[in-house]
Amino acid sequence: MSHLNEFEIFLLLSALKVAVVLVVLLLGVAYTVLLERKLLAHMQNRWGPSRVGPFGLLQPLVDGAKSFLKEDMNPLAVERPLFILAPIIALGCALISMSVVPFGAVTRVQGVDLFQVANVNIGLLVILGVTSIGVYGITLSGWSSNNKYSLLGSLRSTAQVISYELALGLSLVGVVLRAQSLNLRVIVDSQAARGILSWNIFGGFQIVAFFIYLMAAFAETNRAPFDLPEAENELVAGYHTEYSSMKFAMFFMAEYANMITVSCVATLLFLGGSTSVFGHLFDGFLNTPVWNALFPVCWFVAKVFCFLALYIWVRGTLPRFRYDQLMSFGWKFLLPLAMANIIVTSFILAVRG
């Protein structure tokens, strides 16, 4: 690559990174759906999808093809531009958050970091900001559908998301205080010293924050036990009742992409990101550059996978909340608890430092 200057190499590698991350993420979304169907099925003594491919492994591809081939209907009374814009906003925001997530250790090729699309100082705030913009997708879809069930579903969802956003944001403050930075790499590095013992959830004594984050994240992504926006016995299908074909698939993909984003953030902030569970115990083992680059990515993927499994386990276990329970849980329990966590954490840090 001698005839390319530095900027061109940067541009080329960045485009390549974006493409690879996008493909991996979309595949991840497809297979998270399959994972959920399989796990839920086994929890309920069923087989789940088992016909397409070995163990039903090709099911996501067939589902995708089916969504593409279905008729794309536009009801007459919808507010057209917004009706089309809403799924784009939802999916776009769900995918953009992934751009600041560091997947592995710093591995530079020609001065470009391979395992992170963009390393920004305010990475955590970027994720929170993009998530808060994603609400528009849900809000607008319900309103532009011109259907009372859609509107009720989207009102519920919007109210739920903006309520739990507060508890979610506050639960992360303790972690930021410990790492003294909003840069996701720095936050990960602050937990790298002694493996599992220095993760924020254990060594950092942020287990309360992790609990708050877990609850708020379930609510943010509209998942069970907080999946009231899609309560099918009350609201048909909630905000995406009027959507068909690929536009529905975009909402569906956005939901699962959000799940993956939330799992990534939990991994980065509480579970040590791409650092090894054993700390530096096995650093001398297989000390080749390729292995050193790929091993952290494996840890990251494994942790995200565990968090996703927890998500699905909860969905298979807990019944749905009532709406007033949901609101009072968020405002009267999680929010004060998050504030108490911030005060205690900052007090301890002030005394120790």
Binding site: I122, L125, S132, I133, Y136, T139, W143, S154, I162, E165
Partner: protein, 168 residues
Amino acid sequence: MQLALFIVFGALALGGALNLLLQRHPIHSALSLVVVMMSLAVLYWSLGAEFLAAAQVIVYSGAIMVLFVFVIMLLNAGKEEHTQGSRVAYSVGFPGAAAIFCLLSFVFLSERGALQSSNIGGDLSSAVDNIAQVSATLFTRQLLPFEVTSILILVAIVGAVVLARREQ
């Protein structure tokens, strides 16, 4: 790069602002305002104020405007009627806008020397974190205004709760 960002997002902000005025449906106007705010956030970021940019997106476009859109949806506000416009708006509005434009241009042009020497966007490459600088200023030199603003917001929250709880 910075110039390109400025041109693209400045144009987007202006277009959004014009669209905000020209749209007849409240939801479309509110969404245009969101576009304006997001473009402003990008402009802030390109000037090196990354924390301000993030706060702009999270607070204004993510929370306040969602609430606006929410209220418009709940009230189910229809399209606004197209009237001839009040005479006051025409006789005061256009001269007023022109006067503000002239005043701002005058200030910027007369302070050109001072503005040129300031290092806009220099913080982007500096080693010190933008947020660290902002918070250090906020909690040392600007502590009193900061606390007063917090109390003001608290009063507003309490007032809203009182109004919402009042028995009919």
